[in-house]
């Protein structure tokens, strides 16, 4: 799987280029790393997929891309609520109310599955 790594600070500008080229936002996903989260933004045009990868640490923020892709609100709120990623300047911010979770950030760093 080919990915293009971008700095968090340069993410918005790179996504803006893809938006201007007519790419569709496919998904945003999160994977735990030792120091925080690895984020993968997937875009598609004419069936070709392109992945942008950036990294988030607990003291950092990820820029919202809702101004470029309004539909990103569903993914950004998901990663904020389930993984505890801080997304800055979300136009549509559910403030933890999209998912009705019993505990904050159930997929976040340091959370492991408890045996029943």
């Amino acid at each position: 799987m080919q990915t293009e790594t971008v700095e968090t600070g340069g993410l918005y500008a790179r996504v803006a280029v893809l938006a201007s080229w007519g790419y569709r936002l496919v998904q945003i996903s999160c994977t735990k790393t030792d120091s925080g989260m690895e984020l993968t933004y997937s875009f598609e045009k004419d069936y070709e997929i392109l992945h942008l990868r950036t990294y988030w640490t607990e003291d950092g923020t990820i820029p919202s891309i809702q101004a470029l892709y309004w539909c990103a609100f569903i993914y950004e709120n998901e990663i904020a609520e389930l993984f505890g990623v801080t997304v800055a300047d979300m136009a549509v911010d559910f403030k933890g109310q999209l998912y009705k979770t019993a505990r904050p950030s159930p997929f976040g760093a340091g959370i492991t599955i408890q045996e029943a």
Binding site: V26, S29, Y47, C71, F94, Y99, I113
Partner: protein, 359 residues
């Protein structure tokens, strides 16, 4: 003009087989805004990869949803197979197409029944589901299951279709097709049905693209996007074109699904007719190491499986982006400005699968 009020819709509602909550901001009888909330049945299945062997996880992936279970299993297996460099035998790929297309027929038929039920056409609902039962019976004979099939496994499929069963598939399709044509003609031609769906909830081609719509929701707005055309499994060896409608309204979404039922029948006939001889699986040796994103066309649209493996039996990550999740922003868009009375039908025409969304 009256003041705005908020009306809760769901999580329990006669039109919703599964729970989702929508706060409808109403001005008189018009929907001014919509605020969705989910998570009522979230099961954290993605998190389970930390505790399940990657081969065992196929069973978990299938249980993401009871309607799309076949293609959920297939998508997960395709992602792992790609990471491991496994060459799935040609016969297994054709059998996956047969299973996947039967799954599409039963999903679309289920939707047609629910849609008829939503606008109060009970007899149409019952006749539609009568036909669906026959499809499920046949799937049970092929795979051994009616809801969870456990047919697809990493490296191939678990059971074969012999010549007798192949003929039976063709015979039953021949018998069912006229019945499907009769029932679906009511959806297409009946004045009552058309009055509930024509011109309701129109989404333009540009909006559909911009909002990230997938599946019949996207194709009903004139976009010929169907991942089966990328040729995964054995689709590359079959002849078909994406089904597209232009109007973008509820009726167009219904028409796309109906036409796809007959397209699926045709694809099954082609797959049965071209079923190559040979093995149905390959042995799986070692553990996956790497990452891959598989994309498939589920009945509800594009589904994405991202798998990241570390060389052990346990995966680092398995992420599913289901079609209903992608279709929530377009749903919010079509609900805005709609009449309150049209809300149930509008929600249904995205064919919401909350079980998938709450993976």
């Amino acid at each position: 003009m009256s003041e705005k009020m908020i009306m809760p819709f769901g999580p329990q509602h006669p039109v919703l087989p599964e729970p989702i909550h929508l706060s409808l901001v109403l001005q008189d009888e018009k929907v001014a805004d919509v605020i969705p909330s989910i998570g009522f049945i979230h099961r954290g299945l993605e998190k389970l990869v930390e505790k399940k062997d990657f081969q065992e996880y196929t069973f978990v992936a299938e249980r993401i949803c009871g309607i799309c279970s076949y293609i959920h299993g297939m998508g997960y297996c395709q992602a792992v197979e790609n990471i491991m460099g496994l060459e799935v035998p040609a016969r297994a790929n054709f059998l996956r197409v047969i299973g996947g297309e039967f799954s599409r027929i039963h999903s679309h038929t289920l939707w047609l029944g629910l849609c008829a039920d939503a606008f109060g056409f009970e007899s149409l609902f019952m006749h539609t589901w009568r036909l669906r039962e026959k499809i499920l019976d046949l799937m049970e004979e092929i795979t051994g299951g009616r809801v969870i099939f456990s047919h697809v496994k990493i490296g191939g499929v678990k059971s074969d279709v012999d010549a007798l069963m192949a003929n039976k598939i063709l015979d039953i399709l021949k018998e069912l097709e006229p019945e499907f044509r009769e029932i679906t003609s009511i959806f297409l031609d009946n004045r009552t049905v058309r009055s509930r769906m024509s011109g309701v909830g129109a989404l333009s081609e540009e909006e559909a693209r911009k909002l990230g719509a997938v599946g019949p929701m996207l194709r009903a707005s004139g976009v010929a996007y169907d991942l089966r055309t990328t040729g995964y499994a054995a689709y590359g060896q079959l002849d078909f074109e994406p089904i597209v409608e232009k109007d973008g309204d509820c009726m167009a979404r219904c028409q796309v699904r109906i036409r796809e039922i007959f397209q699926s029948m045709d694809l099954i006939r082609q797959a049965v007719g071209r079923l190559p001889a040979g093995p149905i699986d390959v042995p799986v040796k070692g553990n996956p190491d790497g990452e891959f994103m598989a994309r498939l066309e589920q009945p509800r649209g594009e589904v994405v499986y991202y798998v990241k493996a570390n060389g052990t039996k346990m995966l680092d990550r398995m992420r599913v982006r289901t079609p209903t999740f992608a279709n929530l922003p377009p749903l919010i868009q079509v609900l805005k400005g709609s009449d309150l009375a049209d809300v149930p039908v509008l929600i249904l025409t995205i064919d919401p699968c909350i079980s998938c969304t709450e993976r």
